[in-house]
């Protein structure tokens, strides 16, 4: 070969490589922390706050740092987290689900600070031992957990329908069935047509079996494990307990008799509340704060008597009178600190001190209620909204409720703890539901079935979870739809065990026994 074409080729290659490097270089800015500021990635439930807005400035002032916040819509958060982790540009502070497989791997490889011994030194950071354990990765805290009530499960019912049919809030699973039947057959909206149903069930988005869905709640009411339980020295998953089958027969009865929405297998959770508000269905099993959202939706539709439309009930007793309640994990995500940019212990202490300030009474009030005197005033133990017709104040309210509240650790949505103020409700009926929420959750907490595996992560589950998780989840829906018989469902469970489930259970049991 002659050298010249080769040289030309080499030249071309060099050029293209240069283009390549230039192309990569231009987008590469966020790798380093801003010298006097921090990069954060936080969940967003509405429109992103203006970084020059009043609320953002107030938070920066308390934090004592410039904050560059990447607000990511909640619906895309998990995907965005996984993409961000795989890139080499981690934010300094990442709000993240500590059980996310990619996060666990990255944390164990040293991407995030182990805060297990650090958190104790900061009195404002939440540190309930049970919840610390729940949010940990095999005993190590790779972030400051964001508090949530430990018991949030409840039933929301159409109060006007109950009253019209002369029914009371349910206490047992049989009561709930009777109510659903009456809601379906006895024309609760009084329009002379049989066009209503009882229970509204959505397509639950998570492929994981134990996902705090209405199905999980009913499983637990019947005495099946919440996720997992140790029975006679063995770790039993929710879907392999005799009580589980009782619960399935119960749910299937609702579906077979048409007491649920016909599109229960496909209804998106985004549109889940619509049938309730539109008067098509009358029962929702979900977190208790959903009641507030329902009130708001009714208010938008017709403000005259919206407060008379929602009733609430707690977890239900099963037919023999025994009661089991579905608790939640007590946290929602953790705030993890990247080792990439926060390099030294001193820098870490500085960041933790900032988080501690944001978790103090002053910080929690700012992140959960807003700016006192601007968008709310204090009335006894409650916060009351003021000037909420003023567009500038509405912006603050929006920034707080849809965005900054997601940065708070010591108080959160629907849970003011003792750090922030609870909102005073607009009507006595709403206030009554608010009180009932507290009473019911304290009562139900006594019968809560805790999942002993929450603090632990099985290696096999990290590797094979993507394949394993949907097997029982999809099989249950198919069984309920009548596409699988009980035998076929059990065969699917066996397939789950054989594909790695057995190993997952063994690993988790070992971790539990080690403590």
């Amino acid at each position: 070969m002659n050298t010249t074409p080769r040289r030309l080729l080499a030249g071309m290659f060099a050029l293209t490589t240069l283009f390549g490097v230039a192309a990569c270089g231009s987008g590469d800015e966020g790798g380093q922390a801003a010298p006097d500021g921090l990069n954060l990635m936080v969940k967003l439930f509405g429109t992103a706050p203006d970084p020059n807005g009043e609320m953002h400035k107030a938070v920066e002032k308390l934090a004592g740092k410039k904050l560059n916040i990447t607000w990511v819509p909640n619906a895309d958060y998990a995907s965005k987290t996984n993409v961000t982790l795989a890139s080499d540009k981690l934010p300094d502070l990442l709000v993240v689900n500590p059980k996310d497989a990619a996060f666990t791997k990255a944390a164990e490889a040293g991407a995030f600070w182990d805060l297990t011994d650090k958190i104790k030194k900061y009195p404002n950071l939440p540190q309930d031992p049970r919840i610390l354990a729940n949010a940990s990765t095999n005993g190590k805290s790779y972030g400051v957990y964001r508090i949530r009530p430990l018991l949030r499960s409840a039933i929301m019912l159409r109060k006007d329908w109950l009253e019209k049919l002369d029914l009371k809030e349910p206490e047992t699973t049989d009561d709930l069935y009777e109510i659903a039947k009456a809601f379906t057959e006895k024309d609760p909206d009084g329009n002379g047509k049989k066009d209503t149903y009882g229970l509204i069930l959505p397509k639950w988005p998570a492929p994981n079996f134990s996902a705090s869905s209405p199905y999980n709640a009913i499983d637990v009411w019947f005495g099946a494990p919440n996720g997992h339980a140790v029975r006679e020295g063995k770790l039993v998953p929710e879907f392999d307990a005799p009580e589980f089958w009782e619960a399935q027969k119960y749910i299937k009865k609702f579906i077979d008799e048409g007491l649920t929405n016909p599109d229960w297998a496909t209804l998106d959770t985004v549109k889940w509340l619509d049938p309730f508000v539109q008067g098509k269905g009358g029962i929702i099993i979900d977190v208790n704060v959903r009641a507030d959202e329902l009130f708001q939706l009714f208010k938008q539709a017709d403000a005259s008597d919206y407060q008379t439309k929602v009733a609430m009930a707690g977890n239900l007793k099963r037919p023999d009178g025994q009661k089991f309640s579905l608790p939640f994990t007590g946290y929602n995500d953790v705030v993890a600190i990247s080792k990439q940019t926060v390099r030294t212990e001193e820098q870490l202490d500085e960041v933790l001190a900032m988080l501690d300030r944001l978790a103090s009474k002053e910080g929690a009030t700012l992140l959960n209620n807003g700016i006192e005197g601007k968008n709310f005033k204090v009335d006894g133990e409650y916060a009351v909204k003021i000037n909420d017709q003023d567009p500038a104040v509405q912006t603050i309210n929006n920034d707080v409720e849809k965005a900054f509240i997601q940065l708070g650790t010591s108080a959160s949505v629907g849970f003011s703890s003792d750090k922030a103020y609870a909102w005073k409700r607009a009507t006595p009926e709403e206030q009554a539901i608010e009180e009932e929420k507290k009473t019911l959750s304290e009562l139900d907490l006594q019968t809560a079935q805790h999942d002993p595996t929450l603090p632990y992560i099985s290696k096999t589950a990290v590797d094979k979870g993507a394949t394993l998780n949907p097997i029982p989840t999809d099989a249950r829906i198919k069984f309920l739809a009548g596409e699988l018989t009980e035998e076929q469902f059990k065969a699917e469970i066996k397939r789950w065990y054989d594909s790695g489930g057995t190993q997952v259970m063994a690993e988790l049991l070992e971790l539990i026994n080690k403590g």
Binding site: G20, N82, D263, Q340, D474, K478
Partner: protein
């Protein structure tokens, strides 16, 4: 290839000296002669180098246990572990079956649809009607899959679907949940595909049909050929090369199902038929953070696609048609 006897006008245009007589000096002068053309080639080469070839470096994580923080370099090599998991795991059979069945349906239904529509349009003699129909059937191409999916739910949902309601009022009996049942998943997917892609697909065939010499038809009519004979002996042979090229190009994309289309229609009840390689890669890699496994699945799909396109090209040549390369 020996069977490739058709004239090859395209080859001439590349400016390469044909046959073995091209010696080093002539090659050299070729570079000199075409230096501006070659310069213009650079951006294209750069595009492929940067956006097509450089990212292939990332494929190496299919053979590693990729840990985000450690990066591609730092992650541990695990050889073929992920491929073993894929081929021995519970997903592979289902993914392969679903992908292949959809591919087959695409060849049988979605591929011929634009050809048939183009031929029908070609026979239309009313100019304005032809134009109007053409413009109307292009429209769905410009709608995103999310909109197509929303329309599908609006029309076929068991609770409020207009068409579902309508069919039920005619046939009576049990209401059918079209968007949730396994049996209806593939028909609905094909319906969506045909509705969305057919119109746009006719463009290339209409262009080929426009290029047919009218003298041929005139001569055929003189010889007493009817419309059917004209179609069979003139029109069809005229667009045959186009059909073959399109078939080969399609074969390369057969395993690429439009991800959104499947993802948006998938639910627990139809998951067994709805999971294809593309949705699985997204689900495992992006939502579950199983980067390496997802890459292995994607790599397998890529290799299978490559085999398909070479296979079809070979087949086309064996059948006496012109291949793509």
């Amino acid at each position: 290839m020996a069977t490739d006897l058709a004239p090859e006008p395209a080859e001439v245009a590349t400016g390469e000296p044909a046959g073995p007589r091209g010696r080093l000096s002539s090659r050299l002068s070729m570079f000199g002669r075409h230096r501006w053309l070659l310069l213009m080639l650079l951006p294209g080469l750069a595009y492929f180098a940067v956006f097509r070839y450089w990212p292939m470096y990332g494929l190496s994580i299919a053979f590693k246990d990729f840990v985000p923080f450690l990066g591609v370099e730092g992650s541990e090599w695990v050889g073929l572990k992920h491929f073993e998991d894929l081929f021995t795991g519970p997903d592979f059979g289902r993914l392969m079956r679903n992908t292949m069945i959809i591919a087959l349906l695409t060849i049988l239904i979605a591929f011929p649809a634009p050809i048939i529509v183009a031929l029908l349009l070609n026979e239309l003699r009313v100019r304005w009607l032809k134009r109007a129909v053409q413009s109307l059937i292009y429209i769905p191409h410009f709608l995103a899959w999310t909109i197509v999916a929303s329309l599908t739910y609006l029309l076929f949902s068991v609770d409020y679907g207009v068409i579902a309601e309508w069919i039920h009022s005619i046939t009576g009996g049990q209401k059918i949940d079209y968007v949730a049942q396994e049996a209806w998943f593939r028909p609905i997917i094909m319906l969506q595909t045909v509705w969305k892609t057919t119109g746009w697909g006719t463009i290339i065939y209409l262009a080929a049909l426009a290029g047919v010499n009218p003298d041929l038809y005139e001569a055929a009519r003189m010889d007493g050929a009817g419309r059917w004979s004209q179609f069979w002996h003139i029109t069809l042979p005229a667009i045959r090369p186009t059909i073959v090229i399109m078939a080969i190009l399609t074969s390369g994309n057969l395993l690429d199902q439009s991800f959104e289309q499947f993802w948006l229609l998938r639910n627990s009840l139809n998951a067994d038929v709805a999971d294809v390689f593309d949705t699985f890669v997204y689900y495992v890699g992006i939502t579950q953070g199983g980067y390496s496994y997802a890459t292995a699945v994607g790599l397998f799909k890529g290799v299978a696609g490559l085999v398909l396109i070479f296979g079809c090209n070979w087949l086309a040549k064996r059948l006496g048609q012109r291949g793509l390369f």
